[in-house]
């Protein structure tokens, strides 16, 4: 059962009081459910497009934040309206412990964005990590919330212009911890590239990589560049700019033992994201990973020309879980994103 409170032309103080009241009410009425205390998520969306974001939030399942504050922006609105909802998933009841979903939906005007932190601050649970996500832009709101939020959630592939996407991610990453969904989608790729070079007999080949081609869905240049940026930063390359030609982006990086040819190549696949990667070494070894049945299909060609192929097992996670994974990652710290985004920025100029 949900507890609901709503008001028009209200204040943050009144909303915060309503939140406390609804929580107390739950305790006294002995509803099933305990307040979860993991993190706050502040979402800034266009009022007209909030439905799509609502659907994505609904699919986060068990990874839902403790308290979600949705700020739906209407162009000319001057007053703040609010709806506060407290509920627990009945599906979870068999677990005995059912975390309560606490949700505040605010209708705000563009005029509120510059000082949005003063509206949101009283509403977040103190001492918990606060994550801000503005899928429809609203850079002004993100900047306002930066002092309040320790983590910025973004998706670099949603920005149509990859150069701007990487530049914005890089700028945010210098000032806050960034969880980039485009980066998270590449996690299985990064894990498997790492694993493929991990056996002692192959590890030394990392230093001899002479060319890398990343294949990607045409809309996923930013994701492909981030993957190349990761390799570049981890292996100590100095990447130069990539330039267009023949439908691909090509460039060179200065490696520790010579130049590395880099190529970002659009591939004909239906799903957005990465399609494959091929790394070749100056010693004549090459390794390719491509999407395949039941995981990534790996093909290794040795110096003597012999080949072996195998599958790195793993199910596709799909898009449904990626936002939840992003929320989970907000509690962790990946030190490799910022160097990767920096390197990606150098490639895209």
């Amino acid at each position: 059962m949900e507890g609901v409170w709503s008001a028009e032309d209200t204040t943050p103080g009144a909303i915060e009081s309503a939140l406390r009241g609804l929580l107390r009410e739950r305790y006294t009425q002995e509803h099933h459910g305990i307040p979860a205390r993991v993190l706050n998520l502040v979402v800034v969306v266009d009022r007209d497009w909030r439905g799509e974001i609502e659907n994505r939030l609904a699919r986060t399942g068990r990874y839902h934040p403790s308290r979600t504050i949705v700020c739906a922006v209407e162009e000319r609105r001057t007053a703040i309206d609010a709806v506060v909802t407290l509920g627990a998933d009945s599906d979870d009841e068999e677990d005995d412990v059912t975390p309560i979903r606490e949700r505040v939906e605010l209708k705000v005007g563009r005029q509120h964005l510059k000082h949005l932190a003063t509206v949101v601050d009283p509403l977040v649970v103190t001492d918990l990590a606060t994550v801000v996500w503005a899928p429809h832009g609203h850079a002004e709101a993100v900047d306002s919330l930066r002092a309040l939020a320790q983590v910025v959630l973004l998706d670099s592939v949603e920005e149509p212009e990859p150069r701007e996407a990487i530049a914005r991610a890089g700028e945010l990453a210098e000032r806050a911890y960034v969880v980039d969904l485009a980066w998270l989608r590449s996690t299985p790729w990064r894990e498997r590239i790492t694993a493929s070079f991990d056996p002692p007999m192959w590890r030394s080949e990392l230093a001899a990589i002479s060319s890398v081609t990343v294949r990607h869905h045409p809309s996923s240049v930013a994701a492909a560049t981030l993957l190349l940026g990761w390799l570049s930063s981890r292996l100590g390359w100095q990447p130069g700019s990539v330039v267009g030609g023949g439908g691909a982006l090509t460039g060179r990086a200065r490696g520790r033992r010579g130049d590395v040819a880099m190529r970002l190549e659009p591939a004909g696949q239906d799903v957005p994201g990465l399609a494959g990667i091929t790394a070749e070494t100056s010693r004549g070894m090459s390794l390719s990973l491509d999407r395949g049945e039941g995981g990534l299909r790996a093909v290794r060609r040795r110096r003597d020309g012999s080949e072996s192929a195998w599958t790195l097992l793993g199910a596709s996670r799909g898009e449904a879980g990626i936002l939840g994974e992003g929320i989970r990652q907000a509690l962790l710290r990946d030190p490799t994103y910022r160097p990767a985004v920096r390197a990606a920025g150098q490639m895209l100029g």
């Binding site: 005995d96 590239i193 195998w310 599958t311 793993g314 199910a315």
Partner: protein, 508 residues
């Protein structure tokens, strides 16, 4: 042994670390454990992308069948018992690398067969796979298999690691455990041996270490000066089900106390390790086992109680007594309840009683550690009109609702200074977004990775048996019938005599 090479610079920042390509060999591949736990765990690891980049499985068992038939058995088990919905493409890709070898373990056939198949895997891939032998057979086959692996030279490889995972029970007496350790270590080095106590693979159990060593506030209290006593409870509301054959041979002490509960005790009492490497952690745990006062036949009846459940009512339904359970001999003296009072005689814990109890068909299913602090030295408040001030209790609940609660004295609202205990409660489920992996998934990965922290070392197993063996011997020599307790109750009245004055068992 693998050559030492430069660190892999790509590893940093990844949650899942790479594991060397591995061929896992399951002995007892058609058994219940393999079907219900091991094969589903392997599938879930594959689903998550957590298996080594190249992975093969060889099932070894007595039944004669072609690879295809074993793959069908594996598919059926995985589809039935996997915690995640199976993805047919992943499952098929996993099964492509599954082979089967038949033969009885006391003949050379299965070992020749597995060597041939494992070598084929190496040749096909052009790399030497690590090999992990998982002994999931009846314990009586352990020495035979270990010996045969040694004889066939399957216990080591020049350019890859070889490890052996041994399921519990590791012996049923101290003598058996010592013998088995001798036989295992005659063939393998201790660093190659991974003795499973699946309890240690549970996140909840590992959290005991996190609770103790990641929080400064409890450490100053964690000693004889502040702690009055500790109760460790592992109770179940169910009976023995269809496991009469196993359980009647084993009993509560062997089934839970010798392994799981003594592990909890060591985690609770150990000194902070220098680091969390396998030998540092296990070294500290062994010290606790060594510090437990030796038990002699004369002292058994003072520090141990056993009992059997009689008929009763559980959850509103009539439940039969142990002797009425199907498959249990009429004159069985097997205990379904065991309680102990142990003392850890070292500087930190001298004089603090540790009460351990476990049983079937008790009032509730719960596993918890209850640490009761000493009462305040002087009470300034009156006790009239209230239940009064109680000593603080810290409860670490392992299951079903993992968490920590601390009982504190608080003022009852009103004009008088009246106090009653309140609970400050923390539930792990409300503070983390991650789902805990199955214990077997964690342990299989650790064994493949070569991390033995969550496995029991030879001296640890022997230390556990040194505590339980005298009790079991004394009980074996003492005729029944055993004291009984009503199914669905708190346990036998006899358990009260273990408690030192002023102490009560916590309600289950």
């Amino acid at each position: 042994m693998a050559t030492v090479v430069e660190q892999n610079p790509l590893v940093e920042g990844l949650e899942r670390l790479p594991v060397h390509p591995t061929t896992l060999v399951i002995f007892g591949a058609t058994g219940d454990l393999a079907k219900r736990k091991l094969l589903p765990a392997l599938y879930n690891l594959a689903h998550e992308g957590a298996l080594p980049e190249r992975f093969n499985l060889i099932g070894v068992s007595r039944s004669d069948m072609p690879d295809e038939d074993y793959r069908a058995i594996a598919r059926e088990s995985i589809e039935k018992y996997s915690r995640t919905k199976t993805d047919d493409k992943v499952l098929s890709a996993l099964l492509e690398h599954v082979r089967y070898v038949s033969g009885t373990f006391d003949t050379l056939d299965p070992y020749d067969g597995l060597q041939r198949v494992a070598d084929e895997f190496d040749e096909e891939a052009g790399i030497p796979f690590n090999r992990v032998y998982y002994l999931s057979t009846a314990p009586s086959f352990f020495p035979m298999i270990i010996d045969a692996l040694g004889q066939r030279g399957l216990d080591e490889r020049e350019d890859a690691e070889v490890r052996v995972v041994i399921e519990k029970p590791f012996g049923t007496t101290l003598e058996e455990a010592l013998d088995l350790n001798r036989q295992v270590l005659h063939v393998f080095d201790e660093r190659q041996v991974f003795r499973i106590d699946h309890y240690l693979g549970k996140e909840t159990v590992q959290n005991v270490l996190a609770f103790r060593f990641a929080n400064g506030m409890f450490e100053p209290l964690w000693n004889r000066n502040y702690i009055d006593h500790v109760q460790i409870t592992a109770s179940e509301d169910i009976g023995i089900g269809t496991r009469a054959g196993y359980y009647d041979e084993s009993g509560a002490l062997r089934d839970l106390v010798q392994n799981h509960m003594l592990q909890l005790l060591t985690l609770l009492c150990m000194e902070p390790p220098v680091d969390f490497s396998a030998d540092e952690v296990r070294g500290e745990k062994v010290k606790v086992l060594h510090a437990i006062a030796p038990i002699t036949p004369d002292t058994v009846s003072d520090i141990a109680v056993r009992a059997q459940y009689a008929g009763g009512v559980v959850g509103g339904e009539a439940a039969p007594g142990y002797l009425e359970e199907e498959g249990v001999p009429d004159d069985s003296n097997t205990e379904t309840y065991a309680a102990l009072r142990l003392h850890v005689d070292n500087w930190r814990w001298a004089g603090v009683p540790f009460y351990l109890r476990t049983g079937k068909r008790l009032a509730r299913k719960v596993t918890e550690i209850a640490v009761t602090l000493k009462p305040v030295p002087h009470l300034a408040f009156g006790q009239d009109g209230s239940v009064g001030v109680k000593p603080n209790q810290l409860i670490l609940t392992v299951q079903p609702n993992e968490g920590v609660s601390l009982s504190l004295g608080a003022k009852i609202p009103g004009t008088r200074m009246r106090i009653r205990p309140v609970n400050m409660e923390f539930l792990y489920g409300t503070a983390f977004l991650s789902q805990s992996p199955e214990a077997y998934e964690r342990l299989i990965m650790d064994a493949m990775r070569g991390d033995a922290t969550l496995f029991t070392r030879d001296d640890e197993v022997e230390g556990q048996w040194r505590i339980c063996d005298p009790i079991l011997e004394h009980w074996a020599e003492t005729p029944g019938p055993l004291p009984t307790y009503r199914a669905g109750s708190q346990g036998p009245e006899e358990a009260e005599r273990l408690l030192l004055p002023g102490t009560k068992w916590r309600a289950i």
